[in-house]
Assembly symmetry: C2
Homo-oligomer: 642 residues x 2
């Protein structure tokens, strides 16, 4: 047995035992040490850097580690074998996203405004914000020798006297505490439950003053989890919070997580990572912050992609990934918080927005609900840029959806200087055409130095490099200057921040390989749009609205996204950024039973197009892997200053 000590920057060290030969990244995962590994440990992303401080290990060289860094002990943990006792430094940068992820979580006024506007639009579209949850104040007669009605019958009658129902269902959990609660409160109690048609389903029996009816809307993204608690009666938001998805240490994308869950004990491990390590801590925090008991949370609604909701339920997700790509469920009713041991009332129903296909999930259904594109005569395109890219196109008569695997580029994966949208990320930039000097907008407090660049920043950067003629249509460097450096083979890179300008003391730059990776990602999005439209015999000119959702930064510069050929070249006023539409939809499902039904209806009416087997998609993709496109006529408004 060897002993490995992980010295975690800004945290307590973790000591674990292992066998010589064990993989260091694997060991970190087993030991709950967060190391960022978006590529799930295949050596391609270069994000899982650690520094060997002491001891024996064997690593492979990597293009992500310079000679100088190698000599200082830097290694990729994914290709490092433990040979004996070991002490390694785990940089804080790698785990920073976990607690400080900036995303569309209603933390800014702008996000809240978008969120509220969308709810108002839903109401205006005729979706009533009502639900069947109730808290009944029941004052019963205390039993006497003349009135010997038992507790269950007494309560049943009291409910029937308060509201018009034929059946009152009392579950075991309520039943078993009834004698005590009734007597402690002298038969004056609050009963919480659901009033369904001629039936009342009791969920909670408590003191008369405890009348809280709380709902919880959750967006479970592959990368980030966002949650709001609201008053189920008034719809008022009471608390909000977010954190990284704890599953991230098992891989950045859904494919790697599905592989991971297929290993022995994997399903349980991934389920624990999302429930015990992610959802429950946020739930507990939010409850504490507003001083309520978790038992007050009586309904949960979840927007999540197909893989995420399978992993949440602990259902084997392998069939999602393997041909013929069969999820266990699209829509499914009957889940209770207690089934998942969520920090909420165990009898609280958990509604998962229904999936459409293996790669278009409930997050898109919920987002589509929120976007209102199902209510319009005009043609709308809905784009959700998460870890995958998902698209929905249509109007009140039809809805087509598809997903494309853009890879992790929009979240900073596959880009050497890429990072998620956390502190230190360059989220926007412009370049002076003359001097080629950049002006950066960086996430964080004033004075924050750059650490890397996130999705929205990369879009700006590539658009600006292209506009200024620094790179050509194939993403290769065409100009020279102090910010342009080249390796021994002549391959160029643009330096965003020199060593002395960066937070880490390492140069931040984008090279031709990065740009090529990004062009493939944006090409996947554009060709998916083109193919989706093509499948219904439409062209981009016929698009009336484009709704862009997702959290790849606090927003996207639409002009730049069009400029690089990621989004279609339509009038800029047709674009709307609608934030975290999955959360918005989940919120509506929680507060509004009609929204919940509408969501199921939207899902039932949506057609899923499997892109990977659709004729012409690959050709379209290859043609889109240029700036802005091989067919420049598709982008008449492209800015290319000569």
């Amino acid at each position: 047995m060897s002993k490995v000590i992980f010295e975690i920057e800004g945290g307590a060290p973790v000591t674990v035992e292992c066998n010589p030969g064990d993989n260091l990244l694997e060991l970190a995962r087993r030991s709950n040490v967060a190391i960022d590994a978006p590529c799930s440990g295949n050596g391609s992303c270069g994000k899982c850097r650690v520094q060997l401080l002491e001891g024996e290990a064997e690593s492979l060289k990597s293009r992500h580690i310079s000679e100088e860094e190698w000599n200082a002990g830097w290694r990729l943990s994914c290709n490092t074998k433990v040979l004996g006792d070991l002490r390694v430094l785990v940089p804080d940068i790698a785990s920073a996203y976990q607690s400080r992820m900036k995303t569309a979580d209603l933390s800014t006024g702008k996000e809240v405004a978008i969120f509220e506007e969308m709810q108002e639009n839903l109401k205006a579209a005729g979706v009533e914000f009502i639900n069947d949850f109730m808290a009944l104040d029941l004052q019963m007669e205390e039993p006497t020798l003349e009135d010997t009605m038992p507790d269950v019958e007494r309560l049943t009658w009291a409910v029937k006297a308060a509201i018009e129902v034929e059946q009152v269902h009392i579950p075991f959990a309520v039943m078993s505490r009834m004698a005590k609660v009734l007597r402690e409160n002298n038969f004056h109690v609050c009963v919480k439950g659901q009033h369904k048609g001629d039936k009342f389903e009791c969920m909670e029996l408590c003191a008369p003053e405890d009348t809280a009816l709380i709902g919880c809307a959750i967006d479970i993204g592959t990368t980030t989890v966002t949650m709001v608690l609201m008053d189920l009666t008034t719809g008022k938001i009471l608390a909000k919070g977010s954190s990284g998805n704890g599953q991230i240490r098992y891989g950045a994308d859904v494919i790697n997580r599905i592989i991971e869950q297929g290993r022995p004990g994997g399903r349980k491990k991934l389920q624990d990572a999302i429930i015990k390590e992610t959802l429950n801590p946020i739930l507990a925090n939010l409850c504490a912050s507003i001083g309520i008991s978790a038992r007050s949370i009586l309904r949960l609604c979840i927007g999540s992609n197909t893989t995420m909701n399978h992993l949440l339920l602990g259902v084997d997700a392998d069939p999602v990934r393997m041909e013929p790509y069969i999820p266990s469920f699209f829509g499914w009713e009957g889940l209770l918080a207690g089934d998942l041991k969520l920090t909420a009332h165990p009898l609280a129903p958990v509604s998962i927005a229904p999936n459409i296909g293996s790669y278009v999930g409930g997050d898109i259904t919920a987002g589509t609900l929120a976007s209102l594109i199902w209510d319009k005569d005009e043609m709308s395109l809905f784009i959700d840029l998460g870890t995958n890219g998902e698209l929905v196109f249509g109007n009140r008569d039809f809805l087509m959806s598809c997903a494309c695997s853009a890879g992790p580029a929009f979240e900073g994966g596959d880009i050497s200087c890429g990072m998620r949208a956390t502190d230190g990320a360059v989220e926007a930039c412009t370049i002076d055409k003359e001097t080629m000097e950049p002006t950066l907008e960086i996430i964080g407090n004033p004075g924050q130095k750059p650490v890397g660049i996130c999705g929205s920043g990369i879009i700006d950067l590539i658009s600006e490099l292209f506009r200024c003629g620094i790179i050509n249509a194939r993403g290769l460097f065409d100009r020279e200057g102090s910010r342009i450096r080249r390796d021994k083979h002549g391959s160029g890179r643009y330096v965003i921040a020199f060593e002395e300008e960066s937070e880490t003391g390492r140069e931040i730059s984008i090279n031709e390989v990065d740009i090529d990776n990004f062009i493939r990602a944006k090409g996947a999005i554009f060709s998916a749009i083109e193919t989706l439209l093509n499948s219904v015999d439409m062209t981009v000119e016929l698009i009336d609205h484009v709704y862009v959702a997702g959290g790849i930064g606090s927003g996207i510069n639409m002009r730049n996204a069009v400029n690089i050929g990621m989004f279609p070249d339509v009038e800029l006023e047709k674009f709307s950024y609608i934030g975290n539409s999955s959360l918005t939809g989940a919120y509506a499902m929680c507060v509004s039973d009609p929204a919940n039904e509408k969501c199921a209806e939207v899902a039932a009416n949506m057609t899923y197009l499997e892109l990977s087997t659709y004729p012409g998609y690959m050709d379209s993709f290859v043609a889109a892997c240029f700036l802005p496109h091989t067919d420049a006529s598709l982008f008449p408004n492209c800015l290319r200053e000569d």
Copy 2:
């Protein structure tokens, strides 16, 4: 800390630590050492005898321990304090009932015949033996790229194709295993569940050959638990078993158990005693004996008194005992086997036959169902002689019920030589008037010597002593002879077995205190019958049938029971012994949905008479405390040979 070693006759010793001053019976209970203590440790029954072998203890003297026994170290454990390290012998006789209780558990041909006749009668009365449990054989198409329906939808469609339903409900437990089970069985599976109207409730998804649909009927008596497993489709009995109720070490009667459950941790302790220590071992044994998985048990129906079903559910039973005597529930739907962690399918519904009042419970409702008295024009009296005595009187137009506290006499409590109906119990006897010599029928193998006398034997004995003029109407000894002995105060006793004739080497005799106790018990029964009839302006002449149920022996000599004034003096052919009617009713509820509904209907139509507050009951009781009664004209056929 002191160390106490319980040397259990015929078992492994149990060693426990305790504090000096701890009560020895309490300590035995905490340590799961079975010591018979029908009076729950108040010193009155004298059953909790142990022999001090070594060490220090402090005990009170007791009329139950002779001088000679005291010197040999015999003590009542209920009044013994541990003073230091101790070694005590726990006689096997005390714990014998636990495994060898003889009761109406379908172990004899006669019992089975009664049981089967009652089921046939139910069918003849129009109660159809059908239920909504089904095992569907589903052969689905395997998914392909062209047929990408998810698992849940695929299964739902297959169920809808097999039976006519609109909704198919799939619970989480089925959902979470679905992907695996479907693929392991190449989409050819068996689905078990309940077909309720236009809905099918899935309960189990398994290999196509596993089609077992098993039901379980349970009678939970205060003293004994009896169970049968049956095929839910054919009704065939597959296995049967019984054992003592593990709660017995917390008191022989319901009052003492309610007191015990009210102590800290008591509810859990009593619930564990019935579920973990009693029901689950029998369930596991029965499943093993017929080679089925406990998951095949898909329905359970229980007949139990009000206290027993409250303790089973872990619901506070204190209000049952305390004025105004309010149970938590009469009827209540919604219990699942998983709620109680019963060894059965966790989703199996558990139906508890509804209670009528604090002391007339579901065992009586189930028994009344089985007795068919609700279907007759004639007037019937139903008597269940368990630890309490419960009565129902009426016909198809009305049903009146009441309970009387006969005390533990019928089960051998409060009688110095009394014992439960286990091996060694005298269960019947006659006495030669001339010689006063008894002829005994003893439970057990041929040659079994007597240990004590059980309820049916006591009825015979007192009737015979009275018939032969050995005792008078007040139960005092009137004759002398070799079998009549007197103490120094002149108080007499009749020796059933001399020292050398008994299994234990101790004299077995019945004394005037015992006889007085028994007369009070039989007086309680008779006065309850009289009061119940009186409450509806009826007299004994109007009784057409008397059904006697219960397990106080393998049967009762009705002639003798009338002779001592316990049962009314009606024609002997009006009496029928119907065995364990609670189990018979529970069986019918399990196999037949209509029986289940009928049981609820019977309960709803039954009126409960609270005897303790009914005017005239006490007078009636006092008048009945003679042999056969102070008003001899009520018993014209009484045998009293002069």
